[in-house]
């Protein structure tokens, strides 16, 4: 015959075990939902301090293979380097949007833009930008021309542009567009003019 206090003790322990199991299951679900949120939050840029200005972004359209100058009004900081970074981040937001005319890979970012005297700008992209980029001469040169032209149209005094990936030199963007050399802004201006018409 099992004593009454022993039965009660066993039941209490069973109830406690079930309760703790249920709580653990609940917490697991919560953490699973929270992880993507945390990842998303890390990609959010800090708010820009500065007055709103009208800028010209050169936006690529893959469907007809053209580069179009478009006016945007965005808040821009005073310092040239931060202005340059903000300009390119705005351009990338256009490309990362759901209705992007020139989709880029998920996680594509401009890490930094360095303005080096005399007249040299260095654009440092992250590896997700290059690794996730589609391969092809036209699609790659649209990206390069869009970045270079947007920068030079809004930041005066730039004559050469170098593109790095994760702070290092890379042969090509995605198998075609050369990243080993310095882009001559005058030559890119002419290319951008060519790219504004589909023929």
């Amino acid at each position: 015959m099992i004593s009454r206090p022993l039965v009660i003790g066993a039941l209490v322990m069973l109830a406690a075990a079930l309760g703790m199991g249920s709580y653990a299951w609940h917490m697991r679900g919560i953490s699973r939902n929270e992880l993507p949120l945390a990842a998303h939050q890390s990609a959010v840029a800090p708010p820009v301090l500065g007055s709103s200005e009208q800028v010209m972004l050169y936006v690529a359209y893959d469907d007809i293979g053209v580069l179009r100058p478009e006016r945007f009004r965005i808040p821009l900081p005073e310092a040239p380097q931060q202005r340059a970074e903000e300009l390119l981040r705005t351009l990338l937001n256009v490309y990362l949007d759901k209705s992007s005319p020139h989709p880029l890979g998920t996680g594509s970012e401009v890490r930094n833009v360095y303005l080096v005297d005399p007249g040299l700008a260095v654009i440092d992209l992250n590896s997700a930008f290059a690794n996730g980029h589609r391969s092809g001469i036209l699609v790659e040169e649209l990206t390069v021309a869009s970045l270079v032209q947007t920068l030079c149209a809004n930041i005066p005094g730039i004559s050469r542009v170098k593109i790095l990936v994760d702070g290092k030199e890379r042969d090509t963007l995605a198998g075609h567009a050369d990243l080993t050399n310095f882009y001559n802004v005058g030559a890119v201006n002419q290319l951008a003019a060519q790219l504004q018409t589909a023929q």
Partner: protein
């Protein structure tokens, strides 16, 4: 047991001798010296035929005698290591231990096995111990030095020249096409060769300089005065022989990094740095690319340019008709697949198929064509450019493919910033600059002919290598499906239509391409 320090530069340390012994031995020694002086001419003659080993390193370049034992070539390992760093040796019976930079190697007289850093390996022939000196087979030196020094060693076996690390000196040569024709040889480091002349020949022998071969051992020049130069290695030295139709003279300049060879009637002209040629560089211009003809490779591997036409080294156009009028370059290849055109179709396969079709169409029209790759191999942009520039074609056609259409896009180079010419060297990155007009004219011609076949065409500039490195008219063709269906890209009919139209356009532009830029 005592270690005998082997001081740098001393081959045979003298033991201390009692004074009486010196007194007895002195007359004998004097007699030997006298008799050796009497035999000097014959000794010199034998020295001339002596086998030499030359070793080139960052710290020292030196030559050593090679001895023959049992029909094998041997060298004294102490003499080899002595100029390279601190070395000592000790003998225990048949065992010989050499210590180099505080690490020991153990050899045994009459045995092949060597112990080095707790591991063993075999020499190709027995180690010999002679009067405290360790003699090792000459052919084992690359392996031995590589282990002892812990770095790359390059061995030119036939000429007995050994290069430790990247010490090689390369050279380029070009005939200066001006009133006073002269051969200008530029070296990557100062040189001091022994120079000898004979009728119409000038020999430069490099014993201490780690000179390496150019892409081709015989360099021919489009010159009536200086017709050719040859490079040869033998018995521990390298030799450049310049051939001309008159007595030749050499003058040094540019801190001994340039040797200018002139014919007798021009020898009064003072040696000077070669003038900068106008862009685009005319005949005889070398390009300063890695692996361009005229430079060798220190590891014995032929540079990319060495695979090109051996008759046209150093970027010099051939004197006669071109071997290849067109170069067709199917982009990508090997592990480098290019764009994924669909789930199964890789860009590299479409470009190769189209390039083969284009070569066939060009050759049907009598246009000699070089296909840069005819199988699934990967070539770097530098290799593609080097091979093309070595072949000196009138036109370079680079083939790409894309899924986004429609039709054909024709690209010319977007020449990058920078790229100044340095003396006779054209910048590798902007070699195309002088040919842009010719390239754009070719692109326009192609576009017109393709439009006439109702193929959609677009002409653009592109930052696409190796277009900017090509030293002739150069265009890239990106072929896309005519109406968006990717299956049509690999259709034989579509490829034939585009290839035959391109070939016809090139054939039509033949006369203007021949005279370009």
């Amino acid at each position: 047991m005592l270690w005998n320090k082997h001081p740098p530069g001393s081959r045979f340390p003298l033991p201390s001798l009692p004074l009486a012994m010196v007194a007895v031995l002195f007359p004998v020694f004097a007699l030997l010296v006298f008799s050796s002086l009497l035999r000097a001419p014959s000794a010199a003659a034998s020295a001339a035929g002596e086998k030499q080993l030359s070793i080139y390193s960052v710290v020292s370049s030196y030559s050593l005698p090679v001895s023959t034992r049992n029909g094998q070539d041997y060298v004294d390992l102490l003499e080899v290591l002595d100029p390279l760093g601190k070395v000592t040796a000790k003998t225990e019976g048949k065992r010989w231990r050499v210590r180099y930079q505080d690490q020991d190697a153990d050899f045994t007289d009459g045995k092949k096995n060597v112990r080095w850093l707790r591991s063993g390996f075999d020499l190709p022939a027995n180690f010999l111990l002679e009067d405290g000196h360790g003699m090792v087979p000459l052919s084992s030196l690359p392996q031995l030095l590589s282990r002892i020094l812990g770095g790359p060693v390059t061995w030119h076996e036939n000429s007995r020249r050994l290069f430790i690390g990247g010490v090689a000196i390369h050279f380029t040569a070009q005939v200066r096409q001006q009133a006073n024709q002269a051969l200008v040889i530029n070296f990557t480091a100062p040189v001091n060769p022994a120079i000898a002349t004979e009728s119409g020949k000038l020999h430069m022998q490099f014993s201490r300089e780690p000179l390496v071969a150019p892409g081709s051992p015989v360099l021919t020049f489009d010159s009536k005065v200086i017709s050719s130069a040859s490079y040869e290695e033998n018995n521990g030295s390298a030799e450049i022989t310049v051939n001309g139709n008159a007595p030749l003279f050499a003058a040094f300049s540019d801190d001994r990094k340039t040797i200018t060879v002139t014919a007798a009637q021009q020898a009064k002209t003072p040696a000077q740095k070669p003038p900068t040629p106008p862009m685009p560089a005319g005949p005889g211009v070398a390009t300063s690319a890695p692996g361009t003809a005229g430079t060798g490779s220190s590891n014995g591997t032929p540079s990319p340019a060495a695979t090109g036409s051996p008759e046209t080294p150093l970027g010099t156009p051939p004197a006669g008709p071109r071997k290849y009028f067109a170069v067709v370059d199917p982009s990508h290849g090997g592990d480098e697949r290019g764009a994924a055109l669909d789930d199964q179709l890789a860009e590299k396969d479409v470009t190769l198929a189209f390039a083969r079709q284009l070569r066939q169409q060009l050759e049907n029209r009598g246009i000699a064509t070089l296909l840069l790759r005819d199988n699934d191999v990967d070539l770097t942009a530098d290799q593609r450019a080097s091979e093309t520039n070595t072949a000196h074609p009138a036109v370079y056609l680079c083939i790409h493919a894309a899924s986004q259409g429609p039709g054909v896009r024709i690209y010319t180079a977007l020449v990058p910033a920078g790229g100044e010419a340095h003396g006779p060297f054209v910048s590798w990155d902007t070699a195309q600059a002088g040919f842009l007009a010719s390239s754009q004219a070719t692109a326009t011609r192609l576009a017109v002919d393709l439009r006439n076949q109702e193929i959609s065409v677009r002409t653009l500039a592109a930052p696409l290598r190796p277009l900017n490195n090509i030293h002739s008219a150069a265009v890239a063709l990106e072929i896309a499906p005519p109406n968006g269906k990717i299956s049509e890209l690999s259709s034989p009919d579509y490829q034939l239509l585009v290839a035959s139209t391109v070939a016809a356009a090139i054939a039509g532009a033949r006369a203007s391409l021949e005279t370009a830029p």
